[in-house]
Every structure is written in C-alpha cells, then in structure tokens.
C-alpha cells in the first residue's frame, strides 16, 4: 500500500502520472486481501445537471468498472442502479440502517430551498414525497463523511445564479456539520475519485478554508498555467483561438484554485486555456456570478435587478469627477477667485495659524462675550419679572381670600 505521503505526492504531481493508475495494482491486491475497506457510498442528486455523475463516469484510471467493483460500494445512485422506485429507496434505507456512520454521502446539485424545498422532490418513502433538502438532512445525519461534488452542491453554483429563482444553496449552508467540498463544473473525475480514495484510505484530507482538499485546490490555475510565459511577457490574445495568454479575454485563472493546467481534462487530453479559451473559474465559491461575464476580469455588479459592469462604473465615476472639477473650475474663473488665489496665493497674508493675531476673531470674541452678557442680563430680567408677577398673584389671591373671609365674618 501507498503511504499517505506518497499518495499526496502522486496527487500533486498530476501532470506526469495519472492519479490512480499507479494505485491500481495496489488496489487490486488490497481488495483481494481484504485490506481495503470498500466503503458504502450514497450518491444523491438534488438540483443538478447530472454533469458530475457523467464526469465521474469519464474516469479512466481507474475505469468505471474498477471504481464500482474495487473502490466503492455504490449503494444508491439513480443514474446507475438497476433497481427503481421502492426497491431503490429500500436500498438507500438499508444502507442508512446497516451502515450508520460508515457510509460516504456524496451530493450532486444544489439544495433547492424555495418554498420549503418543494421545487425539488427526489423520492417517495412510504407513499409520501420527500424533498431534496429533507433527504439531505436525514442522510447527512448518519453519514461518516459528507462530500458535496460539483459547484452546485458546494456553493450553489450555476443553479444559484442571480436571481436564484429556486433559492438554491450549497450543502454546507443547509446542514450543520463539516463537509469535504469537491467543486468544479463539472468536478474532474480525478478530484472526486481521489478524494473518495483519500477518505477511504487515509481519512479526511487537508482542507482549505472553503473545505476544498488542498491536494487538488491548493494553488491557482494561473500559477501553473501552461501559458504563463505569455502572461509574464505581456503577449495577450485579443480573440479566442489565438495562441497566447487569455488574460485579456477575462481568464479567471489568477483567481481560481485548481490543478487543471497539470492534471488536464479527460485523462490528460486538453484543458480550457490550452484550447485557447479563458478559464471561467468554475471551482471558485463565486462561480458563476462572481465570474461572469466570462470574457471580462471583473464580474458584473448586480443590485436589485440593476446590472453594472465595473469598468463602465469606474469610467462613469471618473467622468463624473472630471465634470465636477470642470464646473468648479468654471465657477472659480467666473467669480475671479482663481486669479486672486493663483496670483497672490503664495504672497504673505495675515497669519493663519494663531488665534490672537486675527483681529476679526478678537472682535468676534468680544461681540460674543458681550452678547453672552446681554443674554444673561435678559435672562435675569425675565426671571425677576416672573418672580414679581408670581408675588403679585399671591398677594391678589391672599387679598381675595381675606376679603371673602372677612365678608363671611361680617355676615
């Protein structure tokens, strides 16, 4: 068996060795000797396009056959399983019951949350329909590992693109437990199979802050790009199909973590930049809204239905400022202020720093002081008036009372 360190090295190498091809003899041997634990895998599809399953089926080393028969026990996957309807649901339920806390839950597609998830039912159990989100929560509770595969499952992906009509979300936003994200649109079979293999044999791989295995998503596309030299030399393609750097065509390689340049797609055949097309950043949490338009660096800014391109916004800001300054300059010239300032601006004038030497200020202060005094006096006056009024009132009242009293007495 390979050690974990050797395995990591293999994964990171990517370029020269296909991921699992070297493992195969090992695997077959281990499977025979019973050394490998064929872990049960439940693969559910929520709001997806099936692309990640198709991509998984594109696995070359190991082949689909080897994958199913030697590496994993694919207990539930509605694209592959022979059973249907109740029988398939029973297979799912059996796995949950028998292999509690042992199975790997793979999720493909984003979690549809709008209207309590009613936009997406995935199966019926005992005659009642189950929504994707309910099944996900139920299955995740008993899973040993939860592994969202593809950009939809990891962070919502294309299904959650603005305005996100179905309220799609990534798995980690819905369930409250750690996940191992394998993003990509679709996820490269090596990423999926490699992560499964790591889980089965070495436990959880080292993850970055977005829960992506570092062995596959540890460095940017740009860092290992096959056309990096064109970038450094400033030779840029202006149109797709030109054989140089795709940077000006909005390549998201510099902001995307993936090993596409060395791993390449479909068993080392090609990859987007080598096909003279820009990278679209599909393994990023910001995909697709933060990566669209595909042919520009910076994403559109979307606010309540209004959309603005950043470069145009910047241009508008620049023009606005220029117009503002121009208007101000015109005002300056019109009022003659500018002439005064420029001609006599550097000539010495009254001191500006200290307070004392500023006569107007002194006067102002004096006036202020006087005004304050005046205010005080006025206040005192009103106060005195009030008092005297009160006194007068009291006297009048007393007199009245006395008068009344005396009257009574006289009666």
């Amino acid at each position: 068996m390979l050690t974990r360190r050797e395995f990591l090295k293999l994964c990171a190498a990517g370029a020269s060795v296909s991921l699992v091809s070297v493992l195969l003899p090992d695997l077959a041997l281990a499977a025979k000797s019973g050394a490998i634990d064929k872990l049960p895998v439940i693969w559910i599809e929520l709001g997806s396009c099936t692309g990640d399953s198709i991509s998984l089926a594109n696995t070359m080393d190991p082949s689909q056959k080897k994958l199913f028969s030697e590496i994993i026990d694919l207990r539930y996957h509605w694209l592959h399983m022979a059973a249907q309807d109740g029988q398939s649901v029973k297979a799912l339920e059996d796995t949950v019951q028998r292999d509690k806390n042992r199975y790997i839950l793979v999720i493909e597609g984003s979690v549809v949350t709008a209207d309590q998830g009613k936009y997406n039912y995935i199966l019926q159990k005992n005659g009642s329909l189950k929504t994707g989100i309910d099944m996900l929560k139920y299955l995740a509770e008993h899973a040993r590992w939860v592994m969202p595969v593809g950009s939809c499952a990891t962070w919502g992906g294309p299904a959650a693109a603005y305005p996100n009509p179905a309220g799609c979300k990534g798995v980690a936003e819905v369930i409250h437990r750690p996940v191992i994200n394998v993003p990509g649109c679709p996820a490269h079979p090596d990423w999926t199979v490699g992560t499964l293999y790591h889980l089965i044999n070495y436990g959880e791989p080292e993850l970055d802050s977005a829960y992506r295995p570092k062995i596959f998503f540890g460095r940017t596309v740009h860092d290992r790009c096959t056309r990096r030299q064109y970038f450094e030399n400033g030779i840029f393609a202006r149109n797709p199909g030109e054989e140089s750097c795709m940077y000006l065509l909005g390549c998201k390689g510099p902001v995307t973590y993936a090993d596409c340049p060395v791993r390449q797609w479909n068993d080392h055949v090609n990859w987007p930049v080598e096909a003279s097309s820009p990278c679209i950043g599909c393994t990023s949490p910001e995909f697709p809204d933060g990566m669209m338009p595909y042919f520009k660096h910076l994403p559109d800014i979307r606010l309540h239905g209004a959309t603005a391109a950043p470069d145009r916004l910047a241009k508008a800001l620049g023009i606005g400022t220029a117009v503002g300054l121009g208007t101000h300059l015109a005002g300056n010239i019109f009022t003659g202020r500018i002439g005064k300032n420029l001609i006599s601006g550097t000539k010495p004038k009254a001191s500006i720093v200290t307070k004392k030497t500023y006569p107007a200020k002194e006067l102002e202060d004096k006036v202020d002081a006087l005004l304050e005094k005046f205010d005080n006096l006025e206040q005192e006056l009103t106060h005195a008036r009030q008092k005297s009024r009160n006194k007068k009132g009291l006297i009048a009242k007393a007199k009245q009372l006395l008068g009344k009293d005396s009257g009574e007495e006289t009666d």
Partner: protein, 195 residues
Amino acid sequence: MSLEKKLVQPLPVRIFHWLTATIVFTLVLTGLYINNPTFLDLPLWWVRKVHFYFSFLFIANFTLYTYYYAITRKYPEVLFMPGDIKKMPRLLAFEFFLENTQPNFGRYNPGQKLLFTAWFLLALVLICDGLVLYFINLAQNIFYPLALVNTLRMIIYFGTVFFAISIPVHIYLAVTSDPAKVQAMVTGYIEQNKP
C-alpha cells in the same frame, strides 16, 4: 508690517507626503496597467515587479507615517474628528460659491481631513487585500472570505479607482484655493504678516 515664517509642515511630514505621493502614483498607474495591459506592450512581469516593490514600500511608508502622527499626537490635525462636522457647512458654502471669503480652518480644512481619513482607511483595506492577493496560495487557508479572490480583486480595483479619482481632486483644490500651503509642502514654511 513685518513678515514671519511659520512652520506648518515639518520635515518628516514633507518626506512622508512626497514619498506617499510617488508610491501611490506608481501603484495606481501600474495597477491600472495590470488590470488592462492593452497598450505599450510592456513585459507584464516587469510592471508587476514594480507594483509589488512599491506595494511593500507603501506598507513601510504608511506604517511610519501613521506612527509619526501617533507619537506626535497630531492626528487630530489630519484626521476627520467629530468636531469637524460642524465646520462642514461653512466649507461647502465657500466651495459652492455661496460665500466669498475662504473660512480659516487652520492647517487643513474639514474637507481635506475627510479625504485623508478616507485614504487612511482605504489604505488599510487595500494593504490587507493586496497582501492576500500577493500570498494567494496561502491566504485561502486562513479564513473563508479570503478564498473569494475575485471579490478581493474587485475591492482592490475600486480602491485604485478611488485613488485615481481623488488624487486629481486633491491636487486641483490645493493648487487653486491655497497655493501657499502647496508651497509649504515643499519648503515647510508659510510666510505670514506679523500681527
């Protein structure tokens, strides 16, 4: 009337100011070039190296600049303080030609202080942002928002745009409304009439 020389901009301030000006100018130019390298056909690695060197210079200069104002306790003279809000209407009245005489606010007027404060805060954001983009293969491991690299790139872009827009405003207003102070940023002194 006799003349007196008044020191408004001590030597360290002048050095910091012109260093910052050069660095920011270079950073904005190289930054915008990296964003859109469609003219001049410069080797991009060269532009990027310049950008990176000046970024680190900027960080050093910014730290010392901040330190200087912190120990001299003069930061209320350059940063927008709560008391400055009351002074704003008079400044605006002058700038919009409603009032003809320029009010005297001392070293800097509240508008300038507002701009400096915005630059100070933005510089802090951009330094962090730039460091993340520079150490791009490490930063994603620290905490989640740092993995949203295109958003960070957007922030740094609009920060640059803000500098690119506000610096001309700063220069224009300084030159047209109070050239004496511009002079002071070179010589350090302002000449004024003795009381």
